[in-house]
Symmetry: C4
Subunit: 234 residues, 4 copies
């Protein structure tokens, strides 16, 4: 069932490792078949080296396992909450990648300091608040999804395809599992470059808003002209 | 004799290199068969590339070589002291990995700043005191083990599976040699992420204790639900 | 047509990835046949893994595509403006490499702090001004080339084979596409080493001008004696 | 002639690249047959990928080429001066490795902050003074060797097997070309770890002299017990 989605999710999880975003088992990627209402996700705590496409677990949007013998990632309720909240996305990646996690632990949003950032994020990379004690002690993973949703109340998810959960690390998303992983990698690079920029210029250079708009729109806006046009063939 | 343990220890030593934790011959891993009271450890100063499982040296808990033609690691007395002190552990890894060593040299414990840390360490990564002159001049390696033991007087070893020896570097441990190496890798990542966090937020963000408890317990507590349940099959 | 140039440009683009200068599709390299007035450049947004020499697009100096089915890089007008402005160059590389981009985002030129720098750049690595709103909203990529040209009004391009575009990242060039990529790599290393130097010595050590002259001239001056003499055979 | 030495020097040069110490052609290694008074060294500006053992150039201690069709490294006079000055060494490695070069550019010696350092260097890694204008303009490479010699007037070369040339980068040495490259790698690691240590503890923790003595002596002193004893067989 959904063998293509499982293959995509399997590959997305391996790409997290290949891109250096994941150490040991600190990360996971998922994909959603929105029509069927079924999510494919990495099994919990399984080593990436051993994982096969058939190990990918399928759960419905209520969190019930519908296929797979292994337990799904312990972050499953977070992923599900994000799919319920963000109707435009089809893939999610979570990692404890080094530099994005530094910002998440420092509880500092990443301001837009350059065009690398503006190509992907139409504004700062947001940070959630810390979860409260009661939110941690009960339904922790679900509530992690909820504080992200809360932080994005006025933000379109595909205009800021990632977030830093305070004291935890990044979640990124996209239209597909592959896009989610690419955004997770871009977020890591943006976080690393921001760190050095803030060292070299602590007061923060002023990156003009019109330049941010230009870069985001030339890739993602209605008149986007970056990349190959649809229908163009190699 | 104990060929499986020797194989595990051999692999653990190679993993130290594969994970980028060791440069030249600055590191070693060991494993203990607690029933037999015999430790398997890397030979001293031997290059990792040339090492074979049969080169792994066996010594008893008093430090007497019981098998192997090569001298055991010069850190052997440290490993033995830790096995005598910490009855729950079965593997030890030592490295001069870059970021953990930075903290060790700076004599700064690593505060728990996020969930990556909390998944492995139930509190700050401790730093030992410097050894005194007399402790260095006589039985230096044994005394290295003793200052670690002293620092852990009130700490359960598996709740903080690693330590920074002042002016030296990290020792990490676990139930097995493989787990010790994984904890050594996690410690290096935690140290690196902490460094950047302290740059971005020098006053130190407050990572709530209840979040630390949650993360440590969901992986290591009595009701742990991270990873695959025992008996679950692929 | 121009299959050798296309092969060189294809290889230069792959080298950007191999040298770790490019993440995802954030970078491009081009080459010019100055006699024919034709530039070969990477197609826009195409993944490096899939790219073949035959995918390289040919455009004339006015920007008209003369061969290739794919759209050329969206940075094409920047490359063309640089070839029109700098008559001595035959290759250009653009990347968002981490450390050069940190300096570009911080709007800090890279002072010459050592011989690694002096071997390649006969003075600081310049930073452009930010483009104005009107320059961004209309002919953005062309105007990116124009602010670089403006910044180099009194600088010979082969004496400073690279620049940092404010809030964006580095462009580097050379006599050939391969040389452009090498200069892009050297610029990244110089930027990284400068960052650490400024941390260790914030007031900036005084690197003597006569040492800068010596290093640049022994490699690039009329009496250059670095490398193999022309005609010398292996 | 001296084919074994040429092979060793060839391998040492490739190891500089393999260990990540060299970018492009910024580095070189040499070896000396002290009995014959002949040095083997990398050819100037030749790419590492193309170099074969037969490309290694032989010169006598006066700098006259005695074998090889290529020009020797432009740093040849520096190497020769060091071999004349330091009678105990048989190999030299030079690189512009990132972190050692940061310290060299900052003109800051590397204090001994830990046992990784103490295992290799019996005291701080020294920095030379800047060369004067006249020393640069005439016999620059020879004078580079002379300022190193001057700095080591009261230091035994094998007790500090490396130096930082102000505004330039590291030179390291050892009994053989291979040992020189290993010391060059160790110096880079020491430099990197020192950088982070100084960030975490700017006032500088006091690493006790007795601990430095212990570590250096247990590896290099008369009663050294690190590594395998001579005559011990695998």
């Amino acid at each position: 069932m959904l063998s293509e989605l499982k293959e995509q999710v399997w590959r997305a999880n391996l790409d997290l490792v290949r891109f250096g975003l994941v150490t040991l088992t600190f990360g996971n990627a998922s994909g959603l078949d929105r029509k069927k209402g079924i999510m494919a996700i990495k099994p919990s705590g399984l080593s990436y080296e051993k994982m096969k496409p058939s190990d990918i677990v399928l759960v419905d949007l209520a969190g019930k396992r519908v296929e797979g013998r292994l337990s799904p990632s312990s972050d499953t309720p977070t992923h599900l909450e994000l799919y319920r909240a963000f109707r435009t996305i089809g893939g999610i990646a979570h990692a404890h990648s080094e530099h994005a996690t530094m910002h998440a632990q420092a509880c500092r949003e990443i301001p837009c300091l350059g065009t690398t950032h503006a190509d992907i994020f139409n504004g700062p990379v947001p940070v959630t608040r810390f979860l409260r004690r009661d939110e941690v002690e009960r339904d922790y993973e679900l509530n992690t999804g909820k504080v992200i949703r809360e932080r994005f109340e006025k933000i379109k998810p595909l205009e800021r395809p990632g977030v830093l959960v305070a004291g935890h690390g990044p979640f990124a998303w996209g239209r597909t599992p592959g896009e989610a992983v690419e955004n997770c990698l871009a977020l890591e690079k943006i976080a690393k470059i921001a760190l050095g920029t803030l060292f070299l210029n602590p007061s923060g250079p002023l990156f003009p808003r019109y330049l941010l708009d230009k870069h985001f729109q030339r890739k993602h806006g209605p008149g986007a002209y970056y990349g190959q046009k649809k229908g163009e063939k190699r």
